[in-house]
């Protein structure tokens, strides 16, 4: 079914799931989240500039270990069996581009960390994130922030570098650094992004 080197990645991910069971399992891997998206995504992000085009800020943040759930409202199509939205809290250590005044943010977890079975970014080391206001639809904020592109907009610290998390975004840079990377300019405000609608 697969004919490229991604096959090895996919097989490894599958083996990880099988060995860990559906609840996931811990291991001694580096502290890089493993986030697998089973659904289909609208856009394949290929550059930092592309991510920045849908972001209100690029930040360095650290998970606090706190989380909460928010049910999908009925007016947004929520039914009793609808999955809740999972938020995690992060401390904002630095703003690399754009604007974000808060020192702590509520962030929609970009998926499940397959290493632990916990919401991604609930725990772990510092991460660079491309964030934008969370919204159900245009001018319908959900509260807090999301990561642009889900795992595509996450880079996790490993030593002095921050490594690409998303295994399905192979065209994105493999690593970035807060001080050496040329961070793209943020061009849209939070209000403008909310008014434009979800991307």
């Amino acid at each position: 079914m697969r004919s490229t080197s991604r096959a090895a990645i996919a097989i490894a991910a599958t083996v990880t799931v099988l060995l860990g069971g559906c609840a996931g399992g811990g291991n001694d891997a580096p502290d890089i989240p493993v986030i697998h998206i089973d659904g289909t995504r609208p856009v394949e992000y290929t550059s930092l500039k592309q991510l920045a085009g849908n972001a209100s800020a690029i930040i360095v943040a650290k998970p606090t270990g706190e989380q909460f759930d928010q049910p999908l409202p009925a007016e947004q199509g929520g039914v009793p069996t609808s999955a809740p939205t999972i938020y995690v809290k992060l401390e904002v250590n630095r703003v690399l581009s754009g604007s974000l005044d808060a020192t702590t943010i509520d962030l929609v977890s970009p998926g499940t960390d397959e290493r632990t079975g916990e919401p991604a970014l609930l725990n772990g080391g510092a991460v660079i994130l491309f964030v934008t206001p969370a919204m159900y639809a245009a001018d319908t904020p959900a509260g807090g922030y999301v990561v642009v592109g889900g795992p595509a907009g996450v880079f996790a610290q490993s030593g002095k570098s921050f490594l690409r998390v998303d295994s399905e975004s192979p065209k994105m840079p493999t690593s970035v650094t807060p001080d050496d990377t040329s961070w793209p300019q943020i061009t849209m405000s939070e209000q403008a992004l909310l008014h434009r609608g979800p991307r």
């Binding site: 079914m1 099988l18 995504r41 999955a83 934008t132």
Partner: protein, 125 residues
């Protein structure tokens, strides 16, 4: 799709998730977290499942009816137990409906199952 149940095992839903999820469509065990990974053997034998379209997102992005159907078809592939296939031919043409991104499938008109998808399902069942 409409909010109807077509069988005891399969539910088609629209949800206005917007950007609070990464996906335009997803197949999930009913009532589980939005991006929970599949159990071994795929979803078909694991009981009730949802195939969900992120309605506000696909509308915000201006998806046509064909593109929305493409998202649903991709998710049905997951329902049958297929994983993503990121392989492309020369020029970046996806080889399968199970390519993980809508934009490339739309660009190259991959709106229905290809040989790789059919081969995968035949191998599973």
């Amino acid at each position: 799709m409409t909010n109807t149940s077509s069988s005891p095992h399969y539910y088609a839903l629209n949800e206005d998730r917007g950007n609070t999820v990464t996906w335009s469509g997803i197949t999930r065990k009913r009532g589980t977290l939005q991006d929970a990974p599949p159990c071994a053997g795929g979803y078909w034998s694991s009981g009730q499942m949802d195939v969900v379209i992120n309605w506000s997102l696909v509308n915000s992005l201006g998806y046509t009816a064909s593109q929305k159907s493409m998202v649903a078809a991709h998710e049905m592939g997951h329902a049958f137990g297929l994983a993503h296939n990121g392989a492309t031919l020369s020029g970046g043409v996806p080889v399968a409906l199970m390519y993980p991104y809508d934009d490339a499938r739309s660009t190259y008109g991959i709106y229905s199952p290809r040989a790789d998808d059919k081969g995968g399902v035949n191998a599973l069942y």
